[in-house]
Symmetry: C2
Subunit: 228 residues, 2 copies
């Protein structure tokens, strides 16, 4: 026996996928091809299928719409958006479970089946576009979460390839936080935190003195944290 006014809903998983291109924080957006909100820019995402969890759906949609292979990104749950009027385009209420994904070297975006186009857009610029549904709110929350997480977690390395220099790691912090950090103090801080980064012994040569290469360490949290 079903209570008459109990909500029956579709459940969507939407992803705030962030990456760094040319030192600028960018987010993956798709131009909607589905009937609802057709033609508008939106976060990648889609409906959960039967027998699928929200995280599985997020990983699948990220692969289909943005071409980010499953396992290539860390997915972290952001929150769930369930306001009754958040999506008036569908015939049923839709609640959305939002995820944050941080990606390194972005394979060029791929136009998948569900989305018309997919592209990386600077976050600053995306903040001025009108996005479908409440995706502007979700984007803002996602960026803020990423900023906060850099302080007390080792998440920043997710933006980088498996080998990176300390300067590149610093560039992640500077781009996401929008600040300039002292190279000397940053170097001491990250190299002195056990488990954050591990030296490979290799060097990378560029304009000046060659820089030592590192890989991500095993630590998940930063103690004490980096301060913004």
């Amino acid at each position: 026996m079903t209570t008459p006014d109990r909500l029956v809903a579709w459940v969507a998983a939407d992803i705030v996928a962030l990456t760094l291109r040319d030192g600028v924080l960018q987010v993956a957006l798709v131009k909607r091809k589905a009937p609802a909100a057709r033609g508008q820019w939106a976060l990648p995402g889609g409906f959960l299928l039967e027998e699928e969890s929200a995280e599985q759906a997020a990983a699948r949609e990220l692969a289909e719409e943005v071409g980010l292979g499953i396992g290539a990104v860390r997915l972290e749950q952001l929150g769930t958006y369930s306001a009754p009027k958040r999506d008036l385009e569908h015939s049923r209420r839709v609640i959305s479970v939002a995820y944050l994904a941080l990606a390194a070297n972005l394979p060029e975006t791929v136009a998948g089946t569900d989305a018309g186009e997919a592209s990386w857009v600077p976050v600053e610029q995306a903040a001025t576009r009108r996005l479908a549904f409440d995706h502007q709110t979700i984007l803002t929350d996602g960026v803020e979460r990423a900023r906060a997480k850099l302080e007390y977690s080792t998440l920043a390395t997710s933006f980088l390839d498996s080998e990176f220099t300390i300067s590149e790691l610093r560039a992640v912090y500077e781009a996401v936080w929008g600040v300039r950090l002292d190279p000397a103090n940053f170097h001491r801080k990250v190299s002195g935190t056990p488990g954050f980064i591990e030296p490979t012994g290799e060097m990378r040569r560029g304009r000046g003195r060659p820089a030592a290469l590192f890989t991500a360490g095993s630590a998940q949290s930063l103690n004490p944290p980096l301060t913004r």
Copy 2:
């Protein structure tokens, strides 16, 4: 036109409601009266109704099942649980949006319509009970979130009445974190953080020297944080 295998779900809001009784961290549990998982202990909660957001549903269920008036508690979204097999008792898949609620002086629990019994149970003891569905996981996540939030937010005052002493505030931290804190250093720390607590000018007299009374200040975050 509906894609054939798109999930259609019921959406529940479940609440990890924590309070302090006799210096012990306790959680509100209900004995289920509904057919699904009848007789088992579970977190308070229930299904979203049409035209209701998850947070509204959480507030309503908290009022109905635990007797905590709407507005008497802060609700913070914990996360969403959507594993396909998390709830096999219902005829449809159920995904649950979990909330964290911190309450002061717990009105005695009220047996509402949906729940058979409701009572406050020490968290340590609840961790050993078999709870319905995946509520054990949700409870663990909620307690961990509360612990983390005390560090960098002013959430601890939510556990107290509108007027409290610094010792009472310290007791919150000691109970939630399960540690002993130095009274002198704690006093300096909280009274020296602008916006955390505001003196009322009143005193409360007990066993020893009377303690000054405070109310919660306007600050939401603690900078620098308290360390566990």
